[in-house]
Subunit: 302 residues, 4 copies
């Protein structure tokens, strides 16, 4: 992936690799597939081996991107369809087995709007661990789910990984699902895309601020990540618009010297982050409690 | 303490005991002292033994109450004086020793105003653990401080104790300081009192919703608690006003049946909680970094 | 109405009069009726003449109280039923006539939670004036509705009446609907009651802070008010609980000297105000645009 | 000014004109001057006549830009110096005369962070009209100041101009000061520049969403505007970075077809808008009440 093009989305890493290699055929070690689910475009990229890892700059694993642009265009039923599509792509990535507990962790800083999608999604997720534990007769049939927002190193002095490990030790979940804000290369994907992956994440890597990795190796349990791109690097943005216009591209690395690594975000970020956090929270609830409908989740949360 | 009078403040528990015992002399096993510090009234209650524990319904330990009414009356310099008084009472309760690390934990639900004083106080506290660790040349002389807001069981599915234990295991602090909202019996003390204690706390015990205790026994390190009363039980409120008016008291336990255990809070709770959270956060910062002034804290946080 | 019992609700003023007069028969000049609508208890009090005005301390007019306790108890369908009941009681109080414009005004201070129900309700109200004006082909069939939140004198330096008069002069509406927070005497009615009246209001009168009246005389157009009780006077609260318990009442005016006129509010005020603001906003939208369903309003607002 | 370069700052319009005219000499009808005040770079552009108006695309008047980058770099004393510089540039633009009243209006949508600088600045402005009126003995010597946040057409259905005219009719101020968010061409000026002008403004013109003009002609009193750039058009941003890098520029109008007129904003917009709103509010307070210091304003507001 060209150094000046920053993205956390595997589907974009693949596009970039193909563009730079000037080929549209498949990449060795990478299998990609595109289709629609509940009306939402889905891209599934599988990084199969080391060759694929090097080509895309992502660890081996499955990366599914669900596009939810219908939501921003206020299409009828878009919310429900987006929730359903994310839930349906999330379910098969969960470990097979009985009704094991799941720990949700919403990463990011609740007070910085483009970074708040993780903590906000926790608000829209159904939490049951305490109910299952204290009212087993009523809730004993449900999957125990806990949901934490560990905050960010700069304001807590604790790595997210440390807080999550602490919770894992007490809860002993069968899987961890991490929700975080991502970086995209395309404005059109900001706040209208959800990436689901099973290879773990490195918090803050999209904004050049890498923290301790969160994956099966570091946490000891399977880790699913759910990411929403909310920011785009200023130079990446320019480069892509130039390319989309079919114009000759200047030397972006020269230009990058003047952008100061600045990440930008759309003017309407407040509403958009709120909407996507709701989609993710509802989708998590439905994937983890398959007996519930979107209406049931709404009833439970209100 | 009479069953219908609910309070988390040791100074109020003592008042109540004396009233019900109809005596103003000292209570066996309880030493109390009143004085002023930086213009703020201070009451120091020491529960020395089992007799004192039974009389006040509080575990043995030191309970210092700093009253900050000047702040609500917008007196000149009241903020600085309140911060200084809380910091000065907090310092001697900290364990003696070198520059050990301290973990701050702000308990409560950030989205329920009267319960948000703990998480809010974290915002106004100087956090240094990551700086000491990553930039030792610049910050190595400072005490490592981390600050977490573990959320509440009902929305996270995790006990505060579980989250704090997890953080302790990674950070290995020399002390934990817990900030939480309390229950008072007097309206005049709501949002204008800070209680500092060294006996640990039982989160939610004031509102009849007791959680796992947080103290040296359960956490393995000394625990200091800093509490701010923000709610008062409706019947306790009535009982006290009746008493203050010198009128005969009805059978409050009868009346309690109609109040549904309702906790009330002043109309201006938003501003008052914000102000007290600032006082507590600044006081923690100054007590833990004695080289800093109120102005330094302000500069660091902005 | 006894001086120590403060309430903005006509139904409570009537109860108080009957209690103090020790009679349960009708009051001269006051007609009252109780029934259920969409499952919500409704009390309709009509103050017919000067005698009624003096008895209840309210200007002549119709006062309808819809109780929405089902909402707080999370009953199935409670939101929709509450919206429908408020809308159905609001509609007949609107002036008869063609599709005249309506100005909504949400009074109160958005930053003080118990006072924010008016401004918050504006967020949940469908506003069409600009659409009707700029896109007549698409929206010309709709009633022009504008919605302002004029703020409070203490932070703007302008009376609500001044701001509303200014908007009236530009918009020339056929009616003004004012949403405001009220004072109740009963805790059980806080955030679970909506009073609709056609006699105008005196903002802040419930909290002893009376502003210029807002009624047909001062504004020149019919004024409907929609009020939600969110605070209760501490002494009124005590007096009522004592009475409910059937106990002898102390001299409350003595006790009032110690309460400092304090207004209290429930601990869960944040959620409760948000919920009632939604009920009111949706009900206004449906009453003013009878062609819309609750789902249509939701679609329009999202 | 080239069509693809969007800016609300006169200093940028001047730069753009000079660049496109490939000359660095003065523009006919435009006088510009640069200097420092309290350490802040200041650019004063005077548009003297129709020639100047055409060159810069701005109505005749004085446009002063104060740069406050020190604030973002957390320089010591930067807040106070920025406030002082803005106040000192604002004062000479106020009409000469006795102690006339001033109406402040904070334009924009409080719920969209980059658009909220106007309403937020009102919170940090000292409001005295009601005090002067109701407590003349104590406050009669002060200038009567009112401060409104009229909201935006899309959520109120009322033009800002309509709401401001309404307030003017009641208050009869000697001047109106309008605070609003602006568009800049340079990222480095976002949230670190304040433009003060005496020619009135057209709300929303920066984001291609022009409303009724607010100036002496439409409002009947002198209008001073205080603007803070918080968004930049995506293509303008690209164009400028390319230019700063000294690279050949592509056909931006082609590229603009793919950007959808998108406005972007920095990732840290929440904190930055809050800081600038404080600078503006304090500066207004000091310019309008010259007897007050920054500390006095802080005391008054807390």
């Amino acid at each position: 992936m060209p150094a000046t093009k920053r993205t956390d989305l595997a589907m974009e890493a693949r596009e970039l690799f193909q563009q730079s290699a000037k080929e549209t055929t498949e990449i060795d070690g990478v299998i990609a597939r595109e289709y629609r689910l509940h009306g939402c475009p889905v891209t599934r990229v599988e990084v199969k081996n080391e060759k694929g890892e090097q080509a895309l700059g992502k660890p081996a694993g499955t990366y599914v991107t669900v596009e939810t642009q219908g939501l921003m265009r206020h299409e009828d039923g878009a919310f429900k369809r987006s929730v359903q599509a994310v839930a349906d792509e999330l379910s098969p990535l969960l470990p097979v087995g009985g009704i094991y507990g799941v720990l949700l962790a919403g990463l990011g800083n609740r007070d910085i709007t483009p970074d708040s999608v993780g903590p906000l999604a926790m608000r829209y997720s159904i939490v049951t661990r305490h109910l299952v534990d204290k009212m087993p007769e009523e809730f004993g049939h449900m999957r125990p789910v806990a949901a934490i927002a560990p905050g960010v190193l700069g304001t807590t002095g604790m790595e997210s990984a440390e807080m999550i490990q602490g919770a894992i030790q007490h809860m002993r979940p069968g899987a961890v699902i991490i929700v975080d804000a991502l970086t995209s290369r395309r404005l059109s994907r900001l706040c209208s895309t959800v990436q689901i992956a099973d290879s773990g994440i490195v918090p803050g890597s999209g904004v050049g601020n890498a923290r301790a990795a969160l994956n099966k190796k570091t946490l000891g349990v399977p880790v699913i990540s759910v990411g929403v791109p909310t920011v785009v690097d200023a130079v990446t943005l320019m480069s892509d618009l130039t390319e989309q216009a079919g114009l000759p591209e200047p030397d972006w690395s020269e230009i990058a010297k003047f952008s100061g690594g600045l990440m930008v975000t759309p003017k309407e970020i407040d509403t958009q982050v709120e909407n996507l956090a709701r989609v993710v929270g509802y989708a998590l609830s439905i994937a983890l409690h398959p007996e519930m409908s979107v209406e049931d989740v709404q009833g439970f949360l209100s």
